[in-house]
Subunit: 137 residues, 2 copies
Amino acid sequence: MTDGHESAPTGVRRTTRQRTAVSSALAEAGGFLSARDLHDRLAAQGERVGIATVYRTLASLASTGEVDVLLRDDGESVYRRCSSAHHHHLVCRECGRTEEVTGPTVEAWATAEAERHGFRDVRHTVEITGICATCTL
Amino acid sequence: MTDGHESAPTGVRRTTRQRTAVSSALAEAGGFLSARDLHDRLAAQGERVGIATVYRTLASLASTGEVDVLLRDDGESVYRRCSSAHHHHLVCRECGRTEEVTGPTVEAWATAEAERHGFRDVRHTVEITGICATCTL
DNA sequence: TCTGAACATGAGAATCAGTATCAACTAGCG
DNA sequence: CGCTAGTTGATACTGATTCTCATGTTCAGA
């Protein structure tokens, strides 16, 4: 549906100024950024990239696993360049600082639990939030 | 700051036709429903309740723990009458069916991991998705 | 290097969930 | 009954994300 335009890329991924800019701005940022944050950041650097392109690029990077996507409580999505290995996040509710954590235990538990209920093609997300040491001071 | 109206309820929770309707429609539904779904459902039953009221009631029920809130991938929130004990969800990506699962292991892991990083006042959410047995057929 | 067709871009419109506004309404106490 | 704080709802608004589509680019092949 909605074939309109936006055409169906047959599978070639081209390198453009915009994609490079988005990708490196995200890398420089380090932490989680919303699409708008990123757009503003690019603008501040003099890189003019349309917001629509930022969203498209981000979606593309996310689909290849180059960035992590987190859906915040307020419904806004935030992105971050991330190690590609499977992991979870520990997020500070105060300052937003994030740490990556891994948990073989959880992976196993999730899979086992899902199978016990007859589910297949299992995926899971785990988010742990708290107040980090710095913010506690 | 937005004191305008919407006043600050001093703590009394009144019983109204609308609140009862929302609450019972949610109970009848069984599964997860978005605010809009619920609104449509009520309309179908001839219960005229404003969408704003549905949102308000849902938020209120969520804050008292009477319903569970889930933020779907597309950013829409879905609600469901739920056991108040802490648990997680196993959701079918195909039909939306959900099962509640508990995992002492995960609870412990999350807490331990958070503390190891110096985080306090820890909370966590775990979502497991997959394709349920019925949809696999 | 030149070409062209597939891809990509962007400005702005469109969507859509959820929130704010505020006058009118009502539950429930006395 | 009468009063008043709590509620409601039509509607405007916000803010994120997607769609539209004419125009600009990339890059493989000649």
